[in-house]
Amino acid sequence: MKHPSIVFESVNLQYSSVAFKERSLKALLSHVLQGKRKQADVQDVHALKNISLTIKEGERVGLLGHNGAGKSTFLKTAAGLYPISSGNVQVEGQVRSLFDLSLGFEPDATGRENILYRGLLLGLSPAFMREKEAEIVEFAGLGEFIDYPMKTYSAGMQVRLAFSISTTVGGDILLLDEVIGAGDANFMEKAKRRITDLVEQADILVLASHDFVSLKRLCERGLVLHRGELVFDGEMSEAIFEYRRINNIG
């Protein structure tokens, strides 16, 4: 029996400033010639501050926060992409993530070919992907467009395909970053059913979004992030209320 879980123990994450300062000969020379005055003071960004939480099997969690509050950083840390500065992150289970839609799709290849390519990116075998292909095509519901090059797809169609792949290939933890909003109402209904199914198989969903409606429909637990800190952890409608209060909306 699998028991997927995500555990954060006082996690801190800092983006070191050298990573985005300009490092070229030109910058070095102008630095020497002009002295320090003209340089804007770029400091390390403290993107996650002392975050502790536990997400257990079968939970559907929504992440709220304004731009730059740390939602994406949180998801990418959970996915194991970002190295943390201190604390402890433990993730049990296979992670499937959907962060940026256009990433990893080849625009010149058809939707069907991209199903295979994305599967390979996720570390799956060609045989396995061929087996799942029909199911993915069916769920995405793109009709004959599945054999058209990806560059002809609209944002919504890309979401449908990406979501369909990520949820069909199996995995224990699904991380979604603001992508779900691009689907139409019809697809949202299908997506919701799919997510409910996943959660019944004791999978975990973590969704970052600004769309209160889909958050309320899909998640029961809400986390509010504010400037890298976890300021609220509880029931979704209360989380939305708290988020509005902090950011002075309505």
Partner: protein
Amino acid sequence: MIELMRKMLNFYRNKMFRYFSGIWRSRYFWMHLALSDLRSRWRRSFLGALWSIIQPLGMTALLAIVFSKMFNTDITTYAPYVLSGIIVWEFIAASVTGGSLSFVQADAYIKQCRHPLAIYTLRTVLGSSAVLFMASLALYGWVIIVMPENIGWTWLASLTIFPMVLVIAWPMATLLAYIGVRFRDIPHAAGLALQALWFVSPVYFEAKMFRSGGMDFLVDYNPVYHILQLIRAPLLQGEWPTWENYMYSILLALAFSLIAWLMGRKSEAKVIFYL
């Protein structure tokens, strides 16, 4: 003390094992990347993959005519010498410049999925190895026609150049990629360094030219010479490569691996911040 060292050794061996099993697990992905690189390289051109054979051949014809007149050498033996130089040098240059951009080029994948980063340099090096292999067919063909007396068992040794350059170029590309992701000047600087290396290596110039100028050290201590000998000795002279040729190649591979590993240990996790 010995107990401690054994523990450390075990620790690193486990780490390395896990790293390589990560590479093995993502094999379908990097094989796909390498193949799709080749497909896009050869797509939409009438001759396709044949270009990898024709291009070095044409270059050889030009160079051999000019150089054999300049240096007064026999064109039939000098041309395959130049050809072997061109194809191996092309491989080295492609691995250096392509390798230093491997992580930058793969940023979309690195930001999405956690795979060992060495798969992205492996992809680059595999691509250039495939091109080297195609191009070497021209060399084999040429030598079979012009110097059939060299054909023999030693030719088996010429095949060892392919795995050998792979294990040298892969860690080299990896360590360049780590530097290249922080300093985007690397491809330019590497271009300059390559040119300098080319001048002091027996790539187009014959080894005896260096020797007659009293610069034996540029041949004897030059890893480029030893790598080239792996294919030159059997094909051009009908001889086995010497154990020194293999020694230098293996030492180079080990040195690059060690440096790449030391760098990766510190900076692999942070690469994503620089993309």
